[in-house]
């Protein structure tokens, strides 16, 4: 399945249905067993030629989005983010709302009508609304009842020199690469877990981890690249174009030292472009896997994404390839200990 197709599907935390359906269809012919578990994760299993090792690759299906709480008397929808979205990124953006996919905009008061003081204030969610053109509260709520979801109305586009811009690159890049991993055969048993609700607390992964039988877990993610703008050189975390970013630690997990070393050496050996993620911020599903039951070895492989958690995130496609190449190399070389 194309990265473009995956990114353009709408599926925020708790409403991953469309993504789940597409992934089920794409993965089913490629694996020996596939099921939906009790968190709504898609768990695809591929028996290895010899067994002896069991690897689990994980990527999350959910993207950040919005949920409707209520509407004002004038018919404007009151909304909040699902997952972490900076409110400043939402102003003046296009959205699509509810089951009927109503077109809407997140407007802002025209600059002409703002006082000098207004212009200095940072807008927060209680001052922002989605306008779908409804005239009354009843009309708005009939079309988009409380609990409806809204998404950035944003298409995937390749641009510049090998870059792509889209919503949801975090973590459809991971899902994209997991599907590709399923196309090959390996000596080791391989599980690909497409999980839910990462953006609201690593929840799908916690469920997947409980049932998992793997000896090693590799999480394929999208991570912040802060290499543009006024960010100091030592705070950039990672840079698009320099390859897959390997993490030694973040807020939710500490990479297994042996595994981290193996991955660095493997990338070197196979000439796969890679970088160390220069920071210990953020948290991802590796935290859920590592803490589950008796613990398990984990490491995180990330594609650097600029402007993550917004409508126009940017990646370098060669990094997406590098993430796939390293994951595949690890799966191919996994030998029984």
């Amino acid at each position: 399945m194309e990265l473009k197709t995956l990114c353009e599907l709408n599926g925020a935390s708790g409403q991953e249905g469309a993504v789940r359906k597409a992934i089920l269809e794409a993965a089913r012919p490629l694996c020996d067993d596939i099921r939906i578990d009790r968190m709504g994760n898609v768990i695809a299993f591929k028996k290895g030629r010899t067994g002896g090792r069991h690897l689990l690759f994980s990527a999350h299906m959910d993207e950040v989005g919005f949920i409707i709480l209520d509407a004002t008397e004038e018919g404007l929808l009151v909304f909040r983010p699902v997952g972490g979205i900076d409110p400043r990124v939402t102003v003046s953006k296009y959205v699509v709302v509810g089951e009927k996919k109503w077109k809407g905009v997140i407007g802002a008061l025209a600059i002409h009508l703002q006082s000098a003081e207004d212009r200095k204030r940072v807008l927060d969610y209680d001052g922002l609304y989605i306008d779908i053109g409804a005239k009354t509260r009843d009309e708005a709520l009939a079309d988009c009842p409380p609990g409806s979801y809204a998404y950035f109305d944003s298409c995937y586009q390749e641009f510049g020199d090998g870059c792509a811009v889209s919503k949801a690159l975090d973590d459809r890049v991971g899902c994209y690469n997991l599907l590709r991993l399923l196309e090959n055969t390996y000596d080791a048993d391989v599980t690909c877990a497409f999980v839910t609700q990462e953006e609201v607390g690593l929840r799908g992964a916690a469920g997947a981890a409980f049932a998992a039988q793997a000896d090693t877990v590799l999480v394929l993610e999208g991570t912040t690249a802060g290499d543009m703008g006024d960010v100091e050189k030592v705070r950039r975390v990672c840079e698009p174009g320099k390859g897959v970013a390997i993490s030694f630690m973040d807020h939710a997990s500490i990479a297994h030292r042996g595994l981290y070393g193996e991955l660095m050496a493997l990338a070197q050996k196979r000439g796969i472009a890679h970088q160390v993620k220069r920071g210990a911020t953020g948290g991802n599903d590796a935290g859920a896997y590592q803490r589950s039951k008796q613990g398990v070895r984990t490491c995180v492989l990330s594609v650097p994404c600029r402007y993550i958690h917004g409508p126009s995130s940017v990646v370098k496609l060669s990094d997406v390839e590098a993430q796939y190449d390293l994951a595949r190399a690890y799966a191919e070389e996994a030998k029984a200990e």
Binding site: K233, V234, R235, F248, M249, I254, H256, R257, Y260, V276, R278, G279, A280, T281, Q290, R291, K293, Q294, G295, V296, R297
Partner: protein, 330 residues
């Protein structure tokens, strides 16, 4: 001897996530004293001393890891940029002697903050490198430095050192295992990893062991220096039986059993009600279907600094309490 065991364990490098050397040191001490030793996938050292048939399984946990700073980037000028591993306050790292696993020494410094509240982004470590290339020969991204070892006696009974949290409890637990013979209950001692980043090792260990009871061993804060009143715990007045902290409310039957053990052993003890902080006890109590759990604490001044200070009389009191506790009927 407790003091020798303590000195051995204090000098070992073992920040959160890299506790192997501490586990090795504990293993050497316990060789021949226990019925079984193994290391799990996270690095917890799990040690067993079998009890009588019909006895319960008691899990004791003391964490091997201590806090440090991890290298996240290297300036062109050779200074290291870092962030915290575990609860490190900027104040404890102002012009502080630190050391890496490979023996490289450095000075942790807080740069001028220009009015902002000082945070990790204002820290750097000076390892004497003239530029990035020189620095990269000495350290790698992801390397962790810790307070340089520095044990000082204070007065007749007290010692100050980095890593008292929680090596003093590791020493206590090791001494218990070395001195214990034929306990009524099976003792599973977990020398745990990654406590400082959220009790992660203890959670994994408790899941594996599935004990009947749990007791975490850790330091607690103090209430006996100028302007510090809570918790109402004083150095030299005995081990502290914890009633609560922010990770756990001690299960009444276990906390009462610890108090009963102290009274039976006729040693001083204190009641501890801590307004912040947590221990492995939280992870053990909430594992699987729940485990009755308590915590026995060593009062410690200046926790999470390079001069964590304890009183050896409190360690003695704790050991005496535990020796009675392991033989209780539960």
């Amino acid at each position: 001897m407790m003091l020798d065991t303590l000195k051995t364990l204090l000098s070992v490098y073992g920040p959160t996530g890299q506790e192997t050397q501490v586990a090795e040191a504990v293993k050497r001490l316990l060789e021949g004293h226990v019925d079984g030793m193994r290391t799990d996938v996270m690095g917890n050292l799990i040690v067993e001393k079998r009890g009588e048939k019909g006895g319960k399984t008691i899990l004791f946990s003391a964490h091997m890891d201590h806090i440090g700073l991890v290298v996240t980037d290297i300036e062109d000028t050779g200074y290291l940029r870092v962030t915290n591993v575990g609860g490190v306050g900027v104040d404890s790292m102002r012009c502080r002697h630190v050391v890496f696993a490979n023996g490289v020494h450095g000075v942790a410094v807080c740069q001028p903050t220009k009015g902002e509240t000082a945070g990790m982004q204002h820290l750097f470590v000076d390892i004497g490198a003239g530029d990035r290339a020189e620095a990269e020969k000495l350290v790698k991204l992801g390397d962790v430095c810790v307070f340089a070892p520095d044990l000082i006696p204070l007065g007749q009974h007290r010692y100050a050192s980095p890593a008292m949290d929680d090596r003093c409890a590791c020493a206590l637990l090791a001494e218990l295992l070395m001195q214990l013979s034929a306990p009524r209950n099976t003792v599973v001692a977990v020398f745990s990893v990654q406590e400082e980043v959220g009790l992660r090792g203890a959670a994994a260990a408790a899941y594996q062991v599935a004990p009947d009871l749990g007791v975490a061993l850790d330091v607690t804060a103090w209430g006996d220096t100028p302007e510090v009143k809570l918790p109402a715990v004083k150095l030299g007045e005995g081990a502290a039986v914890k009633f609560m902290d922010r990770s756990m409310i001690a299960t009444p039957c276990v906390r009462d059993a610890l108090i009963a053990a102290a009274e039976k052993a006729n040693v001083p003890y204190q009641r501890e009600i801590l307004p912040f902080g947590g221990t492995d006890g939280g992870a053990i109590q909430h594992s699987r279907g729940g485990v009755p759990t308590g915590t026995l604490s060593i009062p410690c001044r200046y926790v999470h600094s390079a001069c964590e200070t304890i009183d050896m009389r409190d360690m003695d009191s704790a050991l005496a309490i535990l020796k009675v506790f392991v033989n209780g009927e539960y």
